[in-house]
Structures are given as C-alpha cells and as structure tokens.
C-alpha cells in the first residue's frame, strides 16, 4: 500500500517539452529522491504525480490503479511545499484538520490523528496559533504535520528545506528521516541539493533536461555513475573532468573525484601551482592549475598548509578514476 508506477510520462508546455518520457517504479515504503539542476523537470514530475499538472501522455499508477484522471484530493497523497503553503487564516490545528474535514472524516478521528501528529512533530505548544505567529522551522513542521494526518499512501515533498536556514535545514532533514523510519511510508522528495539526496534517499533518481540519467542507491551513484552528468552532479566538491587527449588516453574524458587525488610536494603525475586553498578544518580544498590536466580540485582530509603559488604534484588514484566515452557514458 503505497507503491507508485510511472509509465512513459511526457509533459509539454506548448512547444517546450519538460518531461521526455519518464519510467519509474517505486515500491512500498521507499524513500525516493528526485534530484537534478533547476529546470530539469523534477518538480513538474512531482506535480504530475500529485495531479496538480496533467501529463501530456503516459500513465501514473498508485497502488496499481491508474490515477491519471483522478483529482489530487482523491489520489491518497499528501504534499509538503517549499513555501509551507499554510492557510494563513486558520490555526495550526485547523490547518491540519481541513483536508480531513473535506474528506468527511469523523471529528473524533481527526482529533486523534492531530494529537498523534502534533506529538510526533512537537507541535503541541503552538496548536492554537496561526501560521503568522510561527517561525520558519515551526511552519514547515506544521506543513509536514498536515501531510501526516492524512495518512497518505504517498508523501510528496517539494524542496521542503529550501526556505530554511542552514542549521534548521539539518535538523528538519533529520526529522524527515526519522518520520520516514517511524511511518514506514512511501516518500518522494524533490531537491536540487545533492547532500539532501545522499543523506535521505533509499533510491535517488537523477534527472536532467526532462530525462532520467540514472536511478540507484546513493552509494551506487557515487561509486558507479552511469555517465558524466551523474558523476559531476553527485559528490561535493564536483568531480574533476580532464580531457582524455591531453593525458594521452583513449577515452574522451577522464574523471576523478577531488577526494581521490593525493598531493605531494616533490613528485607525482600532474605538476601544478596552487591557485586557491579553502581551509574548512575537517578538510582542505586545494585548487591546482596543472600543466597537463588544467584546473583541478583536490580534497585533503584534515589540515594541509599550502601557499598560493606553491608548486605541488597531484596524483589521481588509478583505481578510482572514471573513463567516459564521447557520448558521456562511462566506459567499462
């Protein structure tokens, strides 16, 4: 109860094709994250699943039932929005109750569900307040509570953390992860932030320009990206890409993650000068301008003292180097 199947969904706004044929299967209880750069169609896909947008063609099945023509309220979904989207004129309690009232749930049952949800999200002290009297983090918890009380088959999250500040974002992320563990519900989460994707997901769907680039667990995507786009999108700092021809390689592009490059003052594969160093405490990011490889990023764990302008030798870990063909696909 809570599976989703998307079959060849396409969506066009006039002549602009936003989704170019999406196929996806989500099993019950999974936490799936759609990730991709802005404009890749991830939010549109979520809105098609929610029923807020009609697909141009293709089918959406929730629990095996085709819901393509079912209105959003009847799909058994709940959605949490980036801008919270709380009803400004209603108290926290009524915000949570509205959807249930519309569906004709008995008052006692509404009361019970609100009690459980507000305890789960520690909303009890604010239950009679209006959204204007709450902070951003509290508002987003109310929005999550509003989704929880509906006991939906599918939870849909549309960049729910984007409007929160950095510290709150980490906290709320944790709460969402715990919520998923407790409810064991199917959740679909849209974000452009790959850190959120990596930390929350059972399964990540990487989208780019209306197509799915790769589907896999966070570690699968990190360790074996299918193509250059996924390799560059997952991981921070971004993977270094070097033109194969410059290194005398047959592959079009060679990729190596910043954390898989070592540096040495005396010898190594690529000689370069330090352009900039970022000291983060736990690790240090060096930007090296190499003669052979061009500008690359190196991530060193711990503190590393490097002066700007100093000469260093960088050596990529051969076992963790990716080779990409001319079409961007990874070469085995």
């Amino acid at each position: 109860m809570g599976s989703l199947k998307i079959e060849n969904v396409k969506k066009a706004f006039g002549p602009v094709e936003v989704l170019k044929g999406i196929d996806l299967e989500v099993t019950d209880g999974e936490f799936v994250v759609f990730v991709g750069p802005s404009g890749c169609g991830k939010s549109t896909l979520l809105r098609v699943i929610a029923g807020l947008e009609d697909s141009t063609s293709g089918r959406v099945l929730i629990d095996g039932t085709d819901v393509s023509v079912t209105p959003p309220a009847k799909r058994g979904i709940a959605m949490v929005f980036q801008t919270y989207a709380l009803y400004p004129h209603l108290t926290v309690k009524n915000n949570m109750a509205l959807g249930l009232k519309q569906a004709g749930t008995p008052a006692a049952e509404i009361e019970r569900r609100i009690k459980i949800a507000s305890a789960m999200l520690s909303l009890e002290p604010y239950i009679e307040r209006r959204p204007a009297e709450l902070s951003g983090g509290q508002r987003q918890r109310v929005a999550i509570g509003r989704a929880v009380v509906r006991e939906p088959k599918l939870f849909l999250f549309d960049e729910p953390l984007s409007n929160l500040d950095a510290a709150l974002r980490v906290n709320t992320r944790l709460e969402i992860a715990q919520l998923h563990r407790r409810l064991k519900a199917t959740m679909i989460y849209v974000t452009h932030d790959q850190v959120e994707a990596m930390t929350l997901a059972d399964k990540i769907v990487v989208l780019n320009a209306g197509r799915i680039e790769q589907i896999g667990s966070p570690m699968e995507l990190y360790n074996s990206p299918a193509n250059e786009f996924v390799a560059g999108f997952i991981g921070s700092p971004k993977m270094n890409f070097v033109d194969g021809a410059r290194l005398g390689e047959t592959a079009k592009t060679i990729g190596v993650r910043p954390e898989h490059v070592t540096v040495d003052a005396n010898s190594g594969a690529w000689k370069g000068t330090v352009v900039h160093a970022e000291h983060l405490g736990a690790d240090t990011n060096l930007y090296l301008d190499c003669e052979k490889a061009g500008l690359i990023t190196v991530r060193i764990f711990g503190v590393y003292n490097a002066e700007t302008g100093a000469t260093l030798y960088a050596t990529p870990d051969a076992a963790k180097t990716y080779r990409f063909g001319p079409d961007g696909k990874v070469l085995k």
């Binding site: 929610a50 807020l52 959003p72 309220a73 009847k74 989207a85 009803y87 509003r146």
Partner: protein, 279 residues
C-alpha cells in the same frame, strides 16, 4: 527613523512640499464646505473668509433638505455606487483569478481585450448604450446605471487584480487542491483575503468616479425617481439664477458618504501596505 538617516533641512523640505500640495488639494473642498454655511451676501461679499456670526446661515441646508427629495437622491447614489462596486469587485476578481490561474487558449488575448476598456472611454459608446437601454426598457432605472458602471469599472479592476493574483503563492492554491477544496473555496477563502489590500485600492478607484458621475445619470436616468445626488444638485443651477447656498450645501453633503466609504477602504489599504512591508 534613526538619527543617521534623519536630516533636518530635508525633513523640512519634504514637509513643505507635502503641506503645499495638501493645501492646494484641500482648498476647493474647504471653500465649498465653508461657504455652504454662509448667507448669500456672505458668499459673494467675502468668499474666502470663514463664516462669522454675521454671515453664518443654514439657508443652504434647509433649502436642500426642504426642496427636492434629497434623501432619496442620496439613497439612489448609494445604491448605485455600492451595487456597482460590489459587482466590479466580484466579477473583476473572478476574471482576474481565471486569467492569472488557468492556462487556456486565448488567455493573453482575453486579458488584452479586457484591458482595452481602460484605454477607450465608455462615454464614446453613450449613444449605443442609450439605444440598448431604450430597447431593453431600462431607461430611468438604477439597474441601467449599475450595469454601465460595472462595465466601466471592470477593465481597470481586472488589470490591477490579475497582477496581484499572480503574486499569490501557487503552493497555497495547490495545497488547497490537495486538501480537496473546490476552486471556488480556494478563490474565496484563500486568494481573496490575501489580495484584500489591492481590492481596497480598486474599490477606491472605482467608487469615486461613479459617485461623482453626472453624465450617465443625466442621460440614462434623469427621472425624479432615479436622480443621483450630483444630478439632483443641478436643480439649483438655473440658466439665469443659481442658488449657490443650496448647491454648496448639496455638494458638502455629497462628500460625506464617499468620505466614509473611503475611510473604510483606506484602512484596509494601509494595513495591507504595512503588513507586507514588515511581514
């Protein structure tokens, strides 16, 4: 305001400009109100002085209340203004919501078509409107005025409101849809309260020209039964003799209802502006 951003000469300059403007804007109004309390000799002898015990006279007001059916005229004006305002706001907001919310074929064209009314004065169509009203038997009814004023107010209302409606968070509307609210509930319960300040703006812009209009009452509803205040005041404007006391008194009285309506709406206006600014 902090001391760092306050500068005395600048403050004085700004106040001087604003005070001058206020004086210029209020001068005719004050002149009318002031002279309405004076005798005929007082008005012509010294029009710029306030009423003194010698010139003070309520003859204007007693004439207005005694002669003609001024209470009735007021009633007509109020009915026409309030009803037109209601329809302009209701239909304007609904049309604006449809134009800003739904994607349909011809959306932009429809928006342009409706905005066209801002540029073309409705009075150009007076002859056709009159023929229409004669044909439908609506001449000398308040309905005729209400219909014309609704049509006159709609273009600007739709134009302004659709801009504001576009700014209402689409997430909020979608949250309502997921919770199973109908499109009407979304419009009336979620969207309308959020655009209330802009509704007040539109209300003020729509109301004043309707209240002050002389043209359409004169042409479409000049009967004694349907006279509005502005038309009623013409009673005292003779070709040879003009009863200035009565006219000034009628005009002073005519300011009151519109002032009250304005105060009601402007409170919304100011609340809207400040609540947006400080969040």
């Amino acid at each position: 305001m902090s001391t760092a951003t306050r500068s005395l000469p600048r403050a004085i300059g700004a106040h001087a400009i604003l005070l001058t403007y206020t004086a210029i804007a209020l001068f005719p109004v004050i002149l009318v109100v002031m002279n309405s309390f004076k005798s005929r000799v007082g008005i012509f002898g010294a029009p710029l002085t306030p009423p003194t015990p010698k010139t003070f006279d309520l003859i204007g007001y007693t004439t207005v209340i005694g002669q003609g059916d001024f209470i009735h005229y007021f009633q007509n004006s109020l009915v026409v203004t309030v009803a037109s305002l209601f329809f302009v706001l209701l239909f304007g907001a609904m049309a604006a919501f449809a134009l800003s919310e739904y994607r349909f074929r011809g959306n932009t064209m429809m928006g342009l078509y409706l905005a066209l009314g801002i540029m073309i004065p409705i009075r150009l169509g007076t002859v056709a409107i009159l023929q229409l009203m004669v044909a439908t038997g609506l001449v000398n009814t308040l309905t005729a005025l209400i219909l014309v004023y609704t049509a006159q107010g709609l273009p600007l209302a739709i134009f302004i409101l659709s801009e504001f409606m576009k700014q209402v968070s689409s997430d909020l509307k979608n949250a309502g849809r997921i919770d199973g609210l109908s499109e009407y509930t979304i419009f009336f319960r979620l969207v309308l309260p959020l655009v209330r300040p802009s509704m007040a703006t539109v209300a003020v812009f729509t109301m004043i020209p309707i209240w002050n209009d002389l043209w359409f009452p004169l042409i479409l509803a000049p009967s004694e039964e349907t006279k509005t205040v502005t038309l009623g005041a013409q009673l005292f404007l003779g070709q040879f003799v003009t009863n200035w006391n009565a006219i000034l008194a009628a005009l002073s009285l005519a300011i009151l209802p519109v002032l009250i309506l304005y105060v009601i709406f402007s409170r919304q206006l100011i609340r809207g502006i400040t609540s947006g600014a400080v969040k």
